[in-house]
């Protein structure tokens, strides 16, 4: 469904992505793993249209979305939940969700998505009229994901959803992601929590300093992948 081919991204003098290629198939739960600064967030931002790659191509269901504006990409069914729970603090929970459904015109679809969201995140129903800024960290993360789901996305991208959350909440989030996966949502997950991630994903990519260093199923990565290398900085010798 989603394909990146040799994507290069530069900020001024810094090259953040040095030729990233990956793919996500329909219904898959794929992870992008790596330490801070590896380029994971940059990759997601490029897909979502926040950054324009200097080189390479990004294809959604065969057609290129390179250089499209973020709003166009969102309309094509791509939903990004950025790092840090970027909810609208001054808008109510309901308004946040309403805006999440912006690309969907039909009121019936809105109601259906809303009830599904309440199903997954019952706490949001209680907090509906409250401003987003009054929610706790965990609730805000739920709101951020719920908001992304309101648009019935074809591809959901999550940037470190467990970051900064208490361990109990981290469990909740990973359970939720697994459940969404079971419902058939295609997901690209960026995470630093390797263990939990490998428990639930179909495949994962290992990323380091702007490149994909390894790729495979969780079993393959555990046996053959250089996970320690990427996280500890102890590199296998390159020839």
């Amino acid at each position: 469904m989603l394909e990146l081919q040799d994507v290069h991204v530069r900020y001024g003098a810094i090259t953040a992505l040095r030729g990233v290629s990956l793919s996500v198939g329909e219904g898959e739960l794929v992870a992008l793993l790596g330490v801070n600064g590896a380029g994971k967030s940059t990759t997601l931002a490029s897909i979502a249209g926040g950054l324009r790659p200097q080189q390479g191509d990004i294809r959604l269901e065969g057609s290129s979305i390179l250089g499209k504006a973020p709003e166009q990409i969102a309309r094509l069914g791509l939903s990004l939940v950025p790092e840090g729970r970027d909810i609208f603090a001054s808008l109510t929970v309901e308004e946040n969700l309403r805006l999440g459904a912006f690309t969907r015109r039909k009121e019936t679809e809105y109601r259906r998505n809303l009830s599904e969201v309440f199903d997954l995140f019952p706490v949001l129903r209680e907090r509906l009229p409250q401003p987003g800024g009054t929610l706790s960290g965990g609730e805000q993360q739920q709101l951020a994901i719920a908001r992304a789901l309101m648009s019935s996305p074809r591809l959901l991208m999550l940037d470190e959803p467990s970051l900064g959350l208490a361990p109990a909440l981290v469990d909740q989030i990973f359970d939720l992601i697994a459940r969404l996966h079971q419902r058939g949502v295609t997901i690209l997950l960026v995470e630093q929590n390797v263990d939990r991630t490998l428990e639930i994903v179909d495949r994962a990519y290992l990323m380091s300093t702007g490149l994909i260093e390894g790729h495979g199923t969780p079993e393959q990565l555990r046996t053959h992948g250089d996970i320690e290398g990427i996280y500890m900085g102890v590199r296998r010798q390159k020839d």
Partner: protein
Amino acid sequence: MNLAGRLKPFNTPLTLVAIIVVLAGITALLGISLLTRIVTVMFVSMILVLGLQLYMGNSGILSFAHIGFMGIGAYTSVLCSMLPAAKMLTNPDLYPFLVQLHLPFLPSVLMGALVAALFAAVISYPLMRLSDAAAVITTFALLVIIHVVMLHWDRVTNGPRTLFGVDNFTSLWTSAGFCLISTFVAYLFKESRIGLRLRASRDDAYAAASIGINMVVMRWLAFIASAFFAGVGGGLWAHFITSFTPYSFYLTETFVVLAMLVVGGPNSVSGAVVGTLVVTGAREMLRAIENYVNILQVFPQGFFGFTEMVLAVVLVLILAYRPQGIMGSNELRWPPWCRKPAVAGSVQSVRPLS
């Protein structure tokens, strides 16, 4: 090290100085009084634009107050240089101690610059902590305050009435000379530790702070220096035009100086010089067109404002399609094909959308 080696780091300012001297020389040789007037005023404008570049180019912050300091410099220098009798003639209400004041031309100009710089020092320190929109609005507020005070402080400025009778001390070579010095000083500032630190903190405030750069103080010093330049420019201009009102130091002049800097390129001293040359030339041509149309009487109420409109359009086009201006952050060097690379970071920095 031989002479050539010693001079090499000064390639840019010397090149610019050479341009100024050549221009002045040609003008003097041609002896056309209109041209001499235009070029004299151009050098004064250049001083103003260099001062603005010093602050804006290095700190990355827009300042609207610049022309206000020019006005302070103008009035101060004039009150120093005029004979008491002449002062009484133009402004009978003038404070007695101001009437008695009398200094030669050069000290008067310097006095004007000092007062402008002092005023800038006092009023701007608390403002240096603000960022972006707040900083811009406060500089605009400064311009307005200075303008209103000049307009109403009759006992000093003669209020909205014309202050006339100033001696015409500013000759072609006077303004050229000050311009040369200004170019050198602006360049030295840019390459100095202060300039470097200021640009570092502009590009990344937190990183700069972490290595001990005090951005507020750096900005403040640059602001004072630019006010000094403006004060010099004001003093020179006042002694050229010989009569003026507070309306000479407000929005139109601010716009023109800004245009000169943006067209030339705000990130380099050469940009200030080149921008002034180009815009002055363009304005004179446009004015000639305006005059011609006026003679033809095509517009019954007069053909005015055409110059400013064209300038405005050009300015927006440059900001949209070549925001780094003509010089594009580069400095002029001799020979011209040997370009010093652009200073990292600029007024317009490449930023991702999100």
